[in-house]
Symmetry: C2
Subunit: 284 residues, 2 copies
């Protein structure tokens, strides 16, 4: 790939893990970390996730061949504003945000024409956050979605995909619109549901919680600022997902009301077959 | 407790694990297993979960001091019918079913007056099933709900609670009605939701599934016959839970529509605080 410098903006769980993975997989490349909390930057340096740190976003990207935005999606506009004038001609810019329509528009509007942007979304993470939970293998064997638009240079897409392959990810390519539609179903709605399931409990029911409830609501412990911005940004697709989920639940309730054991079992079995066929990658 | 013989009816995941736990924790007591599949009974004997096996339910309970019903909830009526005449006077009968109103009524109607029934529900399990997944520590540190009615002898409740304590469980006492109401929220609704979340996905979204989706839908891989009977039995409470879940989701959608970031974050944060405070017991 020939990158001499990669700048990672935001060195929490995702940015820190990316630094660790880059250090392991991409040799002879300087990794610069930007953040607004000096203590977190210091810990990222100590953990070996980045070579150098700065609290000045423009300084962080000045010599970069690749810039990866790892700050929360709500900060993308201000961060783009602060780096736009400092980018080298020809620099490749990507991100790891959970929604992709907004960042494509922000890049189009804010980044200079001689920079090359394509959005990315590595489908890896944790309900934990911060550099102290970063791991070099966070991305290994997971899927990364790369989201070119009609105006994206194809070569840029290939280079960014190769970058993710170096971090041991499988890449999938789709438009920002399709990304936001599909991730609403597979990620954002499950997050909203997990939180709603926790919220509707009572002290009496919570003390009876077992492994099933804990697993099905684990993601509700995720960072609420981060998820606030994701759900706000993708609310149209989320709303469509809620409607389709309610349709499914209504089907179940109708079959229960009809006391139709066969129909109830068919409803459950279809989910069982799909879910039983899905497995976590072996080393995750 | 002075039990000379415990009879376990049904030697799958739960019954098999109970046999293993009894062998470990209750000395000088014969464990008899009943089932309708000779191969499963044979494996239960080979794994040391039971001392002796029989496919005759009446024979299995004839000399028992404690009978524990571990067959699926849908079979409770027929199993009670087949053992009622064979029970010793004074025998204690309990079960491990996920709903408790029905079995209390069945016991009242079918079991002889000189037997002593109280329902139990150990909140431990797995989406896996069968004797091959049985473990002596399945129950350790988990909660077991014991559900006396107005007509239950208090001494019987104490003896059954002591039995669960011997299997390293914490017990909680409540009426069958309260049990069914609370477990609808903490267990049955989450199961229905997990299945609905899987059912509403498309091939395009499923290939993007990451750890969050897999955890939040793990229970959808549970046995569909077993869950069919649980959901049918507890459909009134399940319906109430669906309504309250939809209320929660509507609150979220309203806050998203109003573009009220603070209100969205508060909605998420309340769930985050509750869920972050819940942890699996250390050895599970």
């Amino acid at each position: 790939m020939g990158f001499n410098q990669i700048s990672i903006l935001g060195v929490g769980l995702i940015g820190g893990s990316m630094g660790l993975a880059c250090r392991e997989s991409i040799k002879f490349c300087k990794i610069i970390g930007y953040g607004h909390r000096p203590e977190e930057l210091q810990r990222a340096v100590e953990r070996g996730a980045i070579h150098e740190a700065t609290t000045d976003a423009a300084a962080a990207v000045a010599d970069a061949d690749l810039v990866v935005l790892c700050t929360p999606v709500g900060s993308f506009g201000p961060v783009f504003e602060s780096i736009a004038q400092a980018l080298k001609a020809g620099v490749i810019v990507t991100d790891v945000g959970s929604t992709k329509r907004m960042i494509a528009k922000l890049a189009e509007r804010i980044l200079p024409p001689n920079s090359r942007f394509v959005g990315s979304h590595p489908m890896a993470g944790s309900e934990r956050h911060g550099i102290e939970n970063a791991r070099a293998d966070l991305f290994a064997n997971a899927v990364c979605i790369v989201t070119p638009t009609d105006s994206t240079d194809p070569k840029t897409v290939e280079i960014v995909e190769e970058f993710w392959h170096r971090l041991k990810m499988k890449t999938v390519r789709m438009s920002p619109e399709e990304h936001d539609r599909l991730t609403a179903d597979i990620s954002h709605l499950p997050h909203a549901i997990a939180a709603a399931l926790v919220r509707m409990q009572t002290p009496g029911s919570l003390r009876l919680a077992a492994g099933g409830f804990l697993d099905s609501t684990r993601i509700a412990a995720g960072d609420s600022t981060l998820w606030r911005d994701i759900l706000l940004e993708n609310r149209d697709n989320l709303r469509s997902g809620v409607v389709r989920l309610q349709d499914q639940l209504q089907q179940l309730l109708d079959r229960l009301d009809a006391n139709d054991a066969t129909a109830v079992q068919e409803w459950l079995k279809a989910a069982n077959v799909v879910r039983s066929g899905m497995r976590k990658p072996p080393d995750r």
